[in-house]
Each structure stands twice: as structure tokens, then as C-alpha cells.
């Protein structure tokens, strides 16, 4: 009786010792060194795994940050400058400072201004529609309205407006990860600098058609008349292929181009309704009367 207890205890003990030895040897022999900095940097990153930085996830980005010597062209759009500053401190490397950006939808061809001329019965996906044909309206540049951008947004920062059939960006939630820009087959969504109080001025059209054709397809299309080009004091507007583009780098948000546009295709958001000249001075009082054209 005592023998059997003794044997089993000895057997189990020897098994345990052998296993422990094997585990010890293996763990020493096959030890993989991982830079502890990687885990540290990963903790600093927002853990959104959105791939907005170009790496497949936050861990991969952390490895890249630690592994590369010059990280000045790496940037986490979700975390922004704050996170990059922390990363810089942790790694002791220089990081570039970038102005925060936000996604804007450069099409205002809602159902009432851009009539449908055909009907598509296939699957509702922009990528498929764009592959097959130019969309249900006569504009081959505008929004297809099937919501691929909304589907890829991981931050719930976009939704489809049911009355206009166009996607809307919720500026506060947008992290400018760039997924929607990639998903859009028409390149309608652009990352533009984020100004205080979400002030934005941009051309809400991408039509490269000549004036008459563009206007016929959509009444708020840019017809390439160049009026905005002439009035802009900062030469921020360029006209390529019958399409105006406001370069955010030079635009000072003076709003002179907005009233001269004959088709209202230049969009201004969140500016005070009245054209008060002292916008900059009188900040606190004017915030309440913002014009919520394109903002939720």
C-alpha cells in the first residue's frame, strides 16, 4: 500500500522535474528577443488598428517606429500630434508635426439637383457600380451614393443622409485615418486641414465636364467659369480641366469666392450666417449661430 503511494509520488515528481527541465532548456534555446520599447510604444498608440498610418495595425506601426531610424515621415493620423509627441519622447527620435485634417465630401449632387437618368439593380456597392458604369445620374464624377465610405469607417464618423443620398462626415468623430478616401472609387473624399470651429471652404464638385454638360447633369456642378479664380486674393484657386480646386495651403478662408460662384458649388461650413467682418474678434458670441450646412 505505501509502496504504491511512494511510486506514484516519485513518478509524478520525476515527470514534473523532467518537464520543467525541458521547458527551461527550450525557453533559453529558442528565446526571441523583443525590444521592450515596442510594447511601450504600442501602449501609447490609440489601438484603433485602422491602418490609417499605412501599417496593418498599431502593433506593426509600433515595430516600424522602433525599427526605423528616421521616423519623420511616419504619422498616426488618429492620435495626431499629441501621440506622436509622446512617441518622440519615448524613443528620443524627431517626429514631424502635422496639421490635423478632416475628411470632406466633395460632391453635393443630391437627388433634387442631380436627377437620376437610369436605374441600377445590381448590388449596392460603389466599387461594383463604378466598375460597370458611370452611375445612375449623368455625372460620371459624382458620388454614387452606395455608401462604401460609410461601410469602411471604423469610427462611426460617417452616415448616409437619406434625403440627399450623400455621405456626411461627423467632424468631431473623424480621425482622418483615410479609409474612406481609399474606399471611394471616385476620389470624392479629401483630407483637408481642420480649422477651429470646423470652418471649411472647398469646391463641392469634381466634374471635369465642360460647363453646359456639367450643369445639365447637376445644377450645383462646377462649370469652370473661373470667377472664383479671378477674385481670390491669395491665388489659392487653380482651374484644371474645367474644375476649380481650392488649395488649403494658401486659402485664408476669406470667403470671397463663395458668393461669386454662379452654381453655388463652393461650400462653406460653420461660418456665421451674416457676413460679419469681425469673425475673428468676436469668437465666443458667434459660435452659437453657426450655419450647419454640412455638419451633423
Amino acid at each position: 500500500m505505501t509502496d504504491s503511494i511512494l511510486y506514484s509520488v516519485l513518478l509524478l515528481a520525476s515527470l514534473g522535474v523532467t518537464a520543467a527541465m525541458v521547458l527551461y532548456v527550450v525557453s533559453k534555446k529558442f528565446y526571441v528577443y523583443e525590444n521592450p520599447l515596442i510594447a511601450e510604444v504600442e501602449d501609447l498608440l490609440p489601438a484603433a488598428n485602422c491602418a490609417g498610418c499605412g501599417s496593418p495595425g498599431c502593433k506593426a506601426f509600433a515595430e516600424k517606429l522602433v525599427g526605423t531610424d528616421d521616423i519623420s515621415d511616419l504619422f498616426c493620423p488618429v492620435g495626431g500630434n499629441d501621440v506622436m509627441q509622446l512617441v518622440s519622447e519615448a524613443l528620443g527620435k524627431e517626429v514631424a508635426e502635422k496639421n490635423p485634417t478632416v475628411a470632406v465630401v466633395r460632391c453635393q449632387g443630391a437627388c433634387d439637383v442631380r436627377p437620376k437618368t437610369s436605374e441600377f439593380q445590381g448590388p449596392r456597392s460603389c466599387a461594383i457600380s463604378a466598375l460597370i458604369y458611370s452611375g445612375e445620374t449623368d455625372c460620371q464624377y459624382g458620388c454614387l451614393g452606395d455608401g462604401d465610405c460609410v461601410a469602411v469607417c471604423k469610427f462611426d464618423a460617417m452616415y448616409m443622409d437619406e434625403t440627399t443620398g450623400l455621405p456626411v462626415v461627423i467632424t468631431d468623430k473623424c480621425t482622418s485615418c483615410g479609409m474612406c478616401v481609399e474606399a471611394c472609387p471616385r476620389d470624392i473624399i479629401e483630407m483637408r486641414p481642420k480649422h477651429k470651429r470646423d470652418l471649411k471652404i472647398y469646391v463641392g464638385c469634381l466634374s471635369e465636364d465642360k460647363g453646359g454638360i456639367a450643369r445639365k447633369a447637376c445644377s450645383v456642378a462646377c462649370i469652370g467659369c473661373s470667377k472664383c479664380l479671378d477674385i481670390c486674393p491669395k491665388e489659392a484657386i487653380t482651374m484644371v480641366n474645367n474644375l476649380a480646386y481650392i488649395d488649403p495651403e494658401y486659402c485664408t478662408l476669406c470667403r470671397k469666392c463663395v458668393p461669386v460662384c454662379p452654381t453655388d458649388s463652393i461650400i462653406e461650413t460653420n461660418f456665421p450666417k451674416k457676413k460679419v467682418k469681425k469673425v475673428e474678434v468676436d469668437q465666443g458670441a458667434e459660435v452659437k449661430s453657426v450655419n450647419l450646412i454640412n455638419n451633423a
Partner: protein, 442 residues
């Protein structure tokens, strides 16, 4: 037992409404719109300018590379503009717009060429002419013909197949051409056999065109090298790979061409165009188009100049019937719906099909019930339901492993699906992405 391909296939209602209507000549349009990308490959380069006077058959756009083709003026007239014109998909494409000269008699006098039997040119010159005269595959894919005929020294061609299958419902353009121009087609076959030194040729015709089969059978009595084969009526028998399998029991490798198994396949329309180019110096400036539809009173077949707006064709057969819902460029299976009717006829337009309300709508998409119908009918032996799912979920690499690129887009799977799932839409989408991935890999 008639020959056919073994895997898959369907038999949609034939609806060949216009098979007894002789090919009429459409009046010369006042303005023609000639797109520079009418073929697969690199678009042609425009070599005329605004206000230039052009003659019938003059080259107006030069081939832009090897896989490209010349484009000739279909009318005599003046180039009014070089502009972007909406094509059948709704996107704007570069076009040459030519106003027909109403005084130039060459526009209106139609010479009936007598049958010319002597082949005056040397083989090399024949191939050169096919390339110069803008001949492309007229079956629908518009693959430049000279590329197909450019055979490398290590490949040996032992059979020329003439595709007179026309398996698409409704279309009768090839059928009528075979009936009316049988001798010319036969001559065209002999020209190609001479130029390529091919020992035999087979004309494949589906058994629903008995009259065409009989016509050719009578004509080939003196031609021991040419055979006529009647084929079982089954879609998509007109596909190159299916036809080679049906006639010769040779399997074209999955990423290969019929050339790899010693075969060249040409459509009867192409053969006729080759005949005209070689024997009568006539470039490819017109083609046969079937204009049809159940409600079209005067549905018929027409000789149409390339560049004629499609609305002219519809006006010619009595205008758009009431309740028209969809106009298809091509046949009902592989054709593409048009966005508007200003689109010109191109080298690839084999038919215009006008569909009314009750036939045009797709059914409501329901979940897949795993019946396996799509797998049964797929002529390429693929699993359409799987490819659709992979494309829908963005698993393109897996779709590539499942040979999504071998899909010939015949649409049989979408046709039979009892749940009306948009199989082909997703497969086409998947193909486009897989192609891009493959390009980036290499």
C-alpha cells in the same frame, strides 16, 4: 448525338425573332461618332485634325501598339470635332466626330463586290493587310485579329475553327451573314488557311441554324479541307474554349489561348471582314447589327456604319416601343445595358436589344440556398457561389486561388440562380481586383 462541350451550359429561350429578315442597309447617318478605343488593348492614336476632309476608308486613328488596331473613317466628310463622347457605360471616351458630306457620291453608292476567287497576295502581305485594315474579332470581344494570327515559330496550328455558333438568344447577325455571304466566308477561310498554312478548317454552327448548315454543306463539296459541324444548341458554346472543346475535344489550358492547343478561332463576321479587306481593299468600317426586341415591330438585321448613333437604329425599326425599360448593347446574356441611346455603334456591337418592363427587372436577392445550380451550369467548372462570397467579403487572394480569373463572364450562374443572387456582378468585381493584385505582384 450532336457535339457540344461537356461541362455546364444552359439553354435560355432562343427568341431569334429576326432570323428570316434579310440584312438591310441602314441609311448613311448625317454625323458619325467614331471612338478611338473600339478594341481590346491600347486605344488608337488620332491622326486627323479638326476641319480635315476625310474619305471613306481613310485611316483616322493609327494603331497605338501591337495589341491595338487602326480605325478608318466610315464615311466621306469633314472632321467637325475631336471630343469626349459618352460611351455605352456612361463614361466619356475620346471620339472623332465626322459630318457626312451629303454631296459626296461615295457615301451613298453601294458597290456590290463580285466574288473574287484568286488570292493575289502573298501570305505575309495578307497578314499585314489584316492588321492595317483594322480587323478585330467581331464576335464581341473585339480582340485585334492580327494578334491572334501572329503565330510564333514554336507553335503549330493544325486547325482553323470558324465560329458561327451565335449562342446568344435574340441575335441573328452572324446567322444572316452566313446565309447571305456564304461563298465569301468560304473564300475568307481559304485565304486564312493559305496565309497561315493550316491543313484544315471546321465551321461550327449550332443546330438551330439548319439553313446555314445546309448552305455550307452544299458549298464545301469541292473543298475537302473544310468541314461543317452541327453543334447542340447550348449557351455559351460560342466561347472560344467551349467551342474548341466541343469540336476537337481539346482542353485549352486555364490561362492559355486556343493557340496553345494548335487552334485558331475566328468569328464568321471577322472572316467576312478579312475577305473584304484582302480581296476588295475594304477596311472594317461597317458591320451587321441585329436590332430586336419582342415589342419591336420591324426588328431586323442591318449593315451599319461604325459610329452610327444607336438611336438611329432604333428609329429605323419604328422607334422605341412603349414601356421600354432597358436597351442592351449585345445579346441578353453578355450584353451591357446602355445608359443612353446617343452611344455609337462600334466594332463590337453585334446587336441592340430593346427590353420591356416585365422582362427587365431582376428578382429580389435572397440568401443562397446551397442548391448548387451555379456550379452545375458553370462552363468553366468554377464554383460561382464561392467566388461571389469571397469577392463580397474582400478575400481576393483566396478568390485568385479559386481561379476567379478563368471566369468567362457568360452569366449562366446569375441566370439559373433561384435566389436571384448577383453572382456575376461580384465575380466581375473580384476579377478586377485580383487582376490588379496580380499586376502588383509581378
Amino acid at each position: 448525338m450532336l457535339k457540344t462541350f461537356p461541362k455546364g451550359g444552359i439553354h435560355p429561350p432562343e427568341n431569334k425573332l429576326t432570323s428570316s429578315k434579310p440584312i438591310q442597309r441602314l441609311p448613311v447617318p448625317k454625323v458619325v461618332y467614331v471612338p478611338i478605343a473600339q478594341h481590346i488593348g491600347i486605344p488608337a492614336e488620332i491622326i486627323v485634325d479638326r476641319k480635315d476632309k476625310v474619305e471613306i476608308g481613310q485611316v483616322i486613328a493609327k494603331s497605338g501598339g501591337f495589341v491595338s488596331s487602326n480605325i478608318h473613317s466610315p464615311v466621306a466628310g469633314t472632321v467637325t470635332k475631336l471630343d469626349m463622347i459618352v460611351d455605352s457605360t456612361g463614361y466619356k471616351k475620346q471620339c472623332i466626330v465626322i459630318r457626312t458630306d451629303a454631296k459626296n457620291a461615295s457615301n451613298f453608292v453601294e458597290t456590290e463586290y463580285p466574288l473574287k476567287k484568286e488570292i493575289a497576295l502573298e501570305p505575309q502581305k495578307i497578314l499585314q493587310r489584316i492588321s492595317d485594315y483594322g480587323i478585330v474579332g467581331l464576335g464581341g470581344a473585339t480582340f485585334p485579329s492580327h494578334v491572334k494570327l501572329n503565330i510564333k515559330a514554336d507553335k503549330k496550328i493544325d486547325c482553323l475553327i470558324i465560329n458561327g455558333v451565335e449562342c446568344e438568344p435574340y441575335l441573328t447577325a452572324d446567322h444572316r451573314l452566313m446565309l447571305e455571304k456564304a461563298e465569301e466566308i468560304l473564300m475568307g477561310i481559304q485565304i486564312l488557311m493559305y496565309a497561315l498554312n493550316v491543313p484544315r478548317a471546321i465551321i461550327g454552327i449550332e443546330n438551330n441554324k439548319r439553313d446555314a448548315i445546309e448552305t455550307f454543306k452544299k458549298l464545301i463539296l469541292q473543298e475537302p479541307k473544310i468541314q461543317v459541324a452541327a453543334l447542340q444548341v447550348k449557351y455559351p458554346q460560342g466561347g472560344e474554349k467551349q467551342l474548341v472543346r466541343a469540336l476537337l475535344k481539346r482542353e485549352v489550358p486555364k490561362n492559355g489561348l486556343p493557340l496553345d492547343v494548335g487552334v485558331i478561332v475566328h468569328n464568321v463576321g471577322t472572316i467576312f471582314a478579312i475577305y473584304q479587306a484582302v480581296q476588295h481593299n475594304k477596311p472594317l468600317i461597317e458591320r451587321v447589327v441585329t436590332v430586336t426586341g419582342k415589342k419591336m415591330g420591324n426588328a431586323s438585321n442591318f449593315w451599319v456604319k461604325i459610329g452610327t448613333p444607336i438611336k438611329d437604329l432604333i428609329t429605323e425599326v419604328g422607334g422605341m416601343p412603349e414601356g421600354t425599360r432597358k436597351i442592351v448593347n449585345g445579346g441578353p446574356m453578355m450584353g451591357k445595358a446602355l445608359k443612353n441611346t446617343d452611344v455609337p455603334v462600334t466594332k463590337g456591337t453585334s446587336g441592340i436589344l430593346v427590353i420591356s418592363e416585365d422582362e427587365a427587372s431582376r428578382g429580389e436577392t435572397k440568401p443562397c440556398i446551397r442548391c448548387g445550380e451555379c456550379v452545375t451550369v458553370c462552363p468553366m467548372g468554377l464554383e460561382p457561389h464561392l467566388l461571389m462570397n469571397l469577392s463580397e467579403k474582400g478575400m481576393f487572394e483566396n478568390a485568385g486561388h479559386e481561379d476567379i480569373l478563368t471566369c468567362i463572364e457568360c452569366g449562366s450562374c446569375s441566370y439559373v440562380c433561384p435566389s436571384h443572387r448577383p453572382l456575376l456582378d461580384y465575380i466581375r468585381f473580384g476579377k478586377s481586383i485580383v487582376k490588379k493584385l496580380d499586376v502588383s505582384k509581378n
